[in-house]
């Protein structure tokens, strides 16, 4: 019998190499002749450069070149606007190297190339830079006031984008409502902070006109296409490889100045050029996300059924808007969460500020939206006098209502929001059981008697995942090893894709997952595809692998039928062999079929010799490779989803607040996660737990702090507080599997989920812990000092 590998917690194929130090991250690629890059970055948030003199730096021993924008010639460009949208009045993207005006602390001004990074940094100190400071825009509310100074002096204001959207008739809903209230919620700026910073290594072979780039990007195919067209190198002579990558979280998708400048310099210098961003640069040069302020009005019945919402929010896009409205739009579409909300309007304004540009960070607008709607539910529960569980049940979309059409609001894939499936009540039941919801009041009371303040919080979310347009996969049975080779166009960013995709192929081909070799992130291995972002890899690539593997399976059965002189219907495929049902001794191995499928015969190994003992793989009298047939046992498959598939989850935590100090401790944590059919539950759990830890960071520890002049106040790991093991609680996880009807495998995405509900449920838990006081948390993240201030300001009930 074939062993099922799909759905099993199979240990990962990538682990052994990573655990023994044999991973190859960009900075691990050996390039002994490489020269090294350091950037002069703007020390000011907004300034006009009046003098930039690099002559002393150029003369410094060991310096190979120093470039400013004047050296770039035709490549003195602005980075592309990745996702255009008509609602952006003056979309701004960054120049590779600044001209006369800089727009945030950290912006690249000059590039030094030297024999070592040490020398390159020495040379930075020799560059003379003089500038006239300009007023910096930092506060997004002040930025929209009349007479506010502007982020870009050549723009009339700070509005990066403005969009109004409406579903149903919200105004009518407000007229009919029994309960109406409004609230203001906000979330602060944070960032992905992968443990590996970004990096690029480029090597140009002038004689062959070949450019090879190793890049920590999540989108190598985009980089390939862009570099090819920028530099006029034949498409197939640009190879972009994303080797092992030390975490992505959205930050590494693309496009940064160095991703163009480093290959450009390699072409100029005809030497390999390497740039490895350091941690401080990562804080000021790689993108951030999260800051939004929402003003929401709520209309509901006396029973607590939401009739309508009106939300207006402002979104900080930083100095540039390379991703257009992606984040704000995701926030807008996810605002109603798992709830019916028949009528709502969302109006957002993306605001330019003189801060690091904003692009999606794991969650991408969802933690903000989740915080808003879940806080609304908690408030509504209080308003109508039911508990937090009941209010949610009254508003959930019910199983029979799927597919649930939200109406005329477009998701990030440009298609109307249609939630494909879900079981929100069941999910909540499972959660309440896992966190011991029923027993909590007694636990709380007991703790209170000891002077300790415990609280419990819950939050739900839905997540549109698995966006198109498509992904592809190439699957081959290797004729020499008999192993399955799978190549995809997207990238593994540490989420176990090598194993998950291996499981998909293994299931179709009746082999073990560890006999499947998966290649990701090499544009030469699979030249078509999109990228890893938006929790889409498993859904879109997984189904593409299944398509290709199924075709290989069918080919294999066809060839084996010829070889065994049996009917295809009588054959079975298992354990890497194809055999005649009922007569297992009559079999060929997949490897032998792969060998036989190629008319070019060679006989270096036993299998190759054995393959010649069978009848030919093709029954043909004419040429050995008849028209329409291909040598080898391989196939390429593509999958293009009709629209996003919607994963969901519900999380809960018990927290303890020290009311004397404002300290917060997560006592325990539970999560129920529904990402449709699960390929590997171990990997999904890992993703969720990692996301939760990030969410905890975003609830009580991490915050990108700027002062009024746009200076970063905590650009180091000493002050930007990523939680350690001592800050993250033990977690209990449960899976619920509601298959997606949209794709053959029923898969939904899982990559971003974990972090989404954490700020919302933390706020809820703190309110509950402090139920003796009249406290409502509206702004996240908190810290002991701000929480203590809230406690002190609260009137005792």
């Amino acid at each position: 019998m074939s062993t099922r590998v799909f759905g099993k917690p199979i240990r990962r194929n990538e682990d052994e190499r990573l655990l023994t130090g044999l991973g190859s991250y960009v900075d691990d690629i050996s390039a002994p002749t490489a020269v090294h890059v350091a950037f002069l970055r703007s020390p000011e948030a907004h300034a006009r450069i009046v003098k930039l003199d690099v002559s002393r730096a150029r003369e410094h021993p060991g310096v190979v070149a120093v470039y400013t924008h004047t050296d770039l010639g035709e490549h003195d460009i602005e980075l592309p606007l990745m996702i255009p949208h008509p609602c952006m009045p003056y979309p701004k993207t960054q120049r590779l190297l600044a001209h006369d005006e800089v727009h945030y602390v950290g912006q690249t001004i000059a590039m030094v190339v030297a024999e070592s990074r040490y020398v390159a940094e020495d040379a930075l100190e020799l560059i003379e830079l003089d500038y006239d400071p300009l007023p910096a825009v930092v506060d997004i509310e002040a930025a929209l006031e009349d007479g506010a100074s502007t982020t870009h002096t050549d723009s009339p204001g700070n509005v990066g984008a403005h969009l109004e959207q409406k579903v149903g008739d919200p105004d009518a809903a407000f007229r009919e409502a029994d309960v109406v209230f409004s609230e203001r919620y906000s979330i602060e700026r944070s960032a992905g902070m992968a443990m590996e910073t970004r990096g690029v290594l480029a090597d140009y072979d002038a004689r062959r006109q070949e450019l090879t780039v190793w890049d920590t990007t999540q989108a190598p195919l985009t980089i390939k296409g862009s570099l090819g067209s920028l530099f006029g190198i034949p498409y197939n002579k640009v190879r972009v490889k994303q080797p092992d990558i030390g975490g992505g979280f959205g930050t590494k998708v693309m496009f940064y100045p160095d991703e163009v400048l480093v290959p450009w310099a390699a072409i100029q210098l005809e030497r390999p050029v390497k740039y490895i961003e350091d941690r401080i640069e990562h804080f000021i040069g790689s993108t951030h996300e999260r800051k939004q302020i929402h003003d929401i009005e709520v209309a509901a019945t006396a029973d607590g059924v939401v009739l309508g919402l009106r939300d207006r929010f402002i979104h900080d896009t930083g100095a540039y808007i390379p991703y257009g409205i992606a984040i704000a739009q995701v926030a807008a579409t996810q605002l109603p969460g798992p709830y019916r909300v028949p009528n709502f309007s969302v109006e957002f304004t993306a605001v330019y500020t003189n801060t690091v540009p904003v692009t999606p960070y794991r969650g991408c607008g969802r933690p903000q939206a989740c915080m808003v709607i879940e806080r609304v539910m908690d408030r509504l529960a209080t308003e109508v006098g039911v508990d937090r569980v009941e209010i949610r049940r009254r508003n959930y979309i019910q199983p029979e209502e799927f597919p649930y059409h939200r109406g005329d609001i477009l998701f990030a894939d440009g298609l109307p929001v249609t939630i494909d499936s879900g079981q929100y009540d069941k999910q909540l039941d499972l959660l309440l059981e896992t966190i011991d919801w029923e027993d909590f009041p007694a636990e709380k009371e007991q703790a209170r008697a000891e002077g300790r303040y415990l609280g419990i919080g819950i939050a739900n979310y839905v997540e549109g995942t698995g966006l198109g347009p498509y992904e592809g996969a190439h699957v081959q049975i290797e004729p020499t090893t008999g192993k399955v080779w799978v190549a995809t166009g997207l990238t593994s960013i540490g989420q176990g894709l090598e194993t998950a995709l291996a499981q998909v192929a293994a299931e179709e081909l009746g082999v073990e997952a560890h006999d499947v070799l998966v290649v990701t992130g090499d544009t030469q291995a699979m030249p078509w595809g999109v990228a890893t972002f938006a929790s889409r890899a498993a859904v879109v690539s997984g189904n593409a692998v299944a398509v290709a593997a199924l075709e290989v399976r069918n080919k294999a059965l066809g060839y084996a039928a010829n070889m065994l002189e049996a009917a295809t219907d009588d054959l079975e495929l298992a354990d890497g062999k194809i055999f005649v049902r009922g007569a297992p001794e009559r079999h060929v191995t997949l490897k032998q079929v792969a060998i036989a499928s190629n008319p070019l015969r060679y006989a270096f190994d036993d299998d190759a010799r054995a393959a010649t003992q069978f009848a030919p793989a093709r029954r043909a009298d004419g040429p050995q490779l008849p028209p329409g047939e291909e040598p080898g046992l391989e196939a390429t498959g593509y999958y293009s989803p009709p629209h996003a598939t919607w994963a969901s989850g519900a999380h809960a935590a018990v927290v303890e607040v020290d009311i004397a100090t404002g300290e917060l401790t997560y006592v325990r944590y539970a999560a129920v996660h529904d990402c449709g059919t699960v390929i590997n539950p171990m990997i999904v759990e890992g993703q969720v737990m990692g996301g939760v830890a990030q969410g905890i960071g975003g609830s009580f520890y991490e915050r990108m702090a700027y002062d009024d002049t746009g200076q970063r106040r905590n650009a180091s790991f000493m002050d930007f507080l990523v939680p350690y093991a001592t800050e993250v609680p033990a977690m209990r996880l449960e899976h619920l599997e509601t298959p997606s009807p949209l794709n053959p495998k029923g898969i939904k995405g899982a990559g971003e989920a974990g972090c989404i509900p954490v700020p919302a449920l933390t706020a809820s838990a703190i309110d509950d812990a402090l139920s003796d006081l009249d406290v409502t948390i509206r702004d996240m993240p908190l810290d002991p000092c701000s929480l203590k201030a809230i406690i002190d300001a609260a009137p005792t009930r």
Binding site: P9, R11, R12, E14, D15, E16, L18, L19, T20, G21, L22, G23, S24, Y25, D27, D28, S30, Y118, G192, M193, A194, M195, E196, T197, D244, I245, G246, G247, F249, D278, R279, I493, G494, Q495, G496, M682, I683, E685, G686, Q687, V688, M689, G690, G691, V692, A693, Q694, S716, F717, M718, V722, Y724, A725, T726, V728, A730, M731, G754
Partner: protein
């Protein structure tokens, strides 16, 4: 900026190199010796990705200069496994418990935890003890729980009865 001669033993092999005094031990190991399993995540002592063992003790290699390691015995993640090609019980446990995702932080965790296990020499580690022991290392992917499980499992394999 006179160069200096350093002689260090890394994973049992002796390396002699001319280095600038300012060369960080992390860069020396990665780029001069060519052992890139030791990673660099912050170069200011917080993340722990660069953790190696110097004369047995786990230390941050980004906070030491190569010249300071002159005469020292260094163990990096590449040298942890007892036999060529195999894995140390701790590495096995990380795989078994899914204690890694992107793997970038992993060598640092493994080296810090290996020193801890060697010091404790016992099977019955509590969650709290293990969390404290690995609290100098940041991981952005796993949420730590599976790392804690892995260290506990390794302790059981290494020091458990029978």
């Amino acid at each position: 900026m006179s160069s200096r001669n350093v002689t260090v033993t890394v994973n049992g092999s002796t390396f002699e190199r001319e280095v600038e005094p300012r060369l960080l031990l992390s860069d020396f190991l990665r780029h001069d010796v060519g052992l890139t399993g030791t990673h660099v995540g912050c170069e200011h002592g917080v993340c722990g990705c660069c953790t190696v063992r110097v004369d047995g003790e786990a230390v941050r290699s980004c906070l030491m200069f190569a010249v300071q390691a002159d005469g020292a015995e260094i163990l990096t993640v590449e040298g942890l496994a007892p036999a060529e090609g195999g894995m140390h019980p701790l590495q096995e446990a990380f795989k078994e418990c899914h204690g890694l995702q992107c793997g970038f932080c992993t060598p640092g965790f493994v080296m810090a935890a290996s020193a801890y296990l060697d010091e404790q020499q016992r099977a019955d580690l509590t969650d709290e003890e293990v969390r404290e022991a690995i609290s100098g290392n940041l991981c952005r992917c796993t949420g730590y729980q599976n790392i804690v499980e892995a260290v506990k499992l390794a302790a059981k394999t290494m020091y458990g009865a029978s």
